[in-house]
Symmetry: C2
Subunit: 172 residues, 2 copies
Amino acid sequence: MHVSVHDVTVGQFSRGLTNLKGVLQKGRAFAESKKIDFSVLLQTRLAPDQFPLARQIQIACDVAKVCCATLSGLPAPAMEDKEQTFEEFMERIDRTLAFLQTIKAEQFTSFEKRTFTSHRRPGLHLEGRDYLHQHATPNFYFHVTTAYSILRASGVELGKRDYLGDPSWKQD
Amino acid sequence: MHVSVHDVTVGQFSRGLTNLKGVLQKGRAFAESKKIDFSVLLQTRLAPDQFPLARQIQIACDVAKVCCATLSGLPAPAMEDKEQTFEEFMERIDRTLAFLQTIKAEQFTSFEKRTFTSHRRPGLHLEGRDYLHQHATPNFYFHVTTAYSILRASGVELGKRDYLGDPSWKQD
């Protein structure tokens, strides 16, 4: 009654980011049909004191990258948060996906002994398992869902299937 | 390099639902301070064709309940979607949490052989592992995040800590 850390991290994050690409593609098609610059959507927020779409995409990528790097002990590739265009955000996601694909299941062997630290919580750390369940996983889905919601609230025709992608349904 | 299905389901869903209770409590305090009936917030949506807060709460509970019941083979307690008040929604969450607490780790022994079916996909099923990673987990966080976002977009003072709750930070 166990699942592999690779499935929970690389597997789930790769699916979520791939689905996010599809959501953003619908956002771009919507912007084009309305003759809106895509950057308008990138700067749209659900609340004035919450991050706009651009930052939601960057953080979703970072949570996936940092979680997989932290729990595997691999270095995380640096990314500069300089994206401005649709293409640059897609490339950010693709670079994150490419990093995830380099990680093999056995590289998570010592995940329980690895720890996560945050500049927001000096002097503290989360143990690997707690970090995965209590922080990285809910945080990843928070930012992917918020990116979806910003576009949906802006009028983009999105449904749950865009968010979930295409699960592996099998014939009965 | 494995984690238990109990931690991934009962553990994560229980934390997410408990944090959702805190988010709703802030929503109620906000409504009271503005002299708004809480039912106004329960009927608020991010988009006209998306479910309002009330339904987001019910679905978050149902995803947690159905996932744990499906993967453990236990019957899911029936819940009628009749809630109207803040107290009734909190009770719905508490009943869901109480069901989750009855499930022991070893009851997930056969989770890989269990399958999920949906009336929306007749003739199809998801295998236990695919259901967990591709459907139940992302779907649960979708509805918890959307409930949070509806309140945040309505003006409730919420931050990421309300969503993540209080992870088990340890002293270095």
